[in-house]
């Protein structure tokens, strides 16, 4: 169930800022608690930056969801970049192929309720996260 997803194309640093602002707006609208808003916006910032830096750009879709009991937000980050060869390694704290801290993917996973990643070398990466209202 959804009332219309909003989509942002990711091509520059500024688009990452726009993703944070959109996620914040939707998080407030579904009445996530302040701590959960902060966690979700932070996770979205990490994942949108990954889409830009490692995926070479892509898109982010933010959608309100409802499982019949609770409201939540689902965010899909998609790129057509090189993909992730070793997913377990990529999800390890402190591992990075760039020059970051290696906390983006693993940290973002801890900040959301549901985390799914679909990746194939040469085809790109799609990360889907969901946060539910308590």
């Amino acid at each position: 169930m959804s009332d219309g997803a909003e989509r942002i194309e990711i091509g520059t640093d500024q688009d990452v800022v726009r993703v944070r602002q959109l996620v914040r707006t939707v998080a407030v609208a579904v009445k996530l608690s302040l701590v959960d808003q902060t966690k979700l916006v932070t996770a979205a910032s990490e994942l949108a930056r990954n889409t830009l830096v490692y995926g070479g750009g892509g898109s982010v879709e933010v959608d309100r969801v409802d499982n019949g009991r609770r409201q939540g937000i689902r965010i899909v980050f998609a790129d057509r970049g090189p993909g992730i060869a070793d997913l377990d390694l990529a999800l390890t704290d402190g591992y990075t192929t760039g020059n970051g801290l290696g906390l983006g993917l693993s940290g973002a996973r801890r900040l959301v309720d549901e985390f799914a990643i679909d990746t194939a070398v040469g085809r790109g990466t799609t990360v889907t996260v969901t946060k539910w209202c308590r």
Partner: protein, 140 residues
């Protein structure tokens, strides 16, 4: 591109981040601060993040780098005003900002730096006194 202003208040540089920074703005702040520390000879930097509703790993790393650079340039950095939700999120993200000193607000941050400076000054004087005393003893 927007730029974060750096104010000089007495012996301290004060930075209050009021915007949602894109990554380039954070990197620019890092460079600007290093230059201002050297140009002013200030021994303390206070970075106020009370207006930030998130600190992600990039901004967290930038703050840590600023603190390291400042230390090499003989200035101490204190990050002040972190919101509770931001602190909770940072720790869960896996970033506990080791090596960064914090205070609850600008006033406490400035007091912390002033105390440090006084303590350092007292040590210097003690060393000088000792030198003077030993010099006096050496004299015939």
């Amino acid at each position: 591109m927007e730029r974060v202003p750096i104010l000089k208040i007495g012996e301290i540089l004060l930075v209050s981040i009021q915007i949602d920074m894109e990554d380039q703005v954070a990197l620019q702040l890092q460079e600007d601060l290093a230059e201002r520390v050297v140009a002013t000879g200030c021994h303390g930097v206070v970075i106020d993040i009370s207006a930030l509703d998130i600190v992600d790993s990039f901004v967290g790393r930038t703050l840590a780098t600023i603190a390291s650079i400042s230390r090499v340039l003989d200035a101490e950095t204190v990050v002040v005003g972190m919101r509770p939700a931001v602190a909770i999120t940072l720790v869960e993200l896996g970033l506990s900002l080791p090596g960064i000193r914090t205070a609850l607000n600008v006033e406490l941050g400035m007091a912390l730096l002033a105390r440090d400076r006084e303590a350092a000054g007292a040590l210097d004087f003690a060393a000088l006194d000792e030198e003077a005393t030993s010099a006096a003893v050496d004299e015939p």
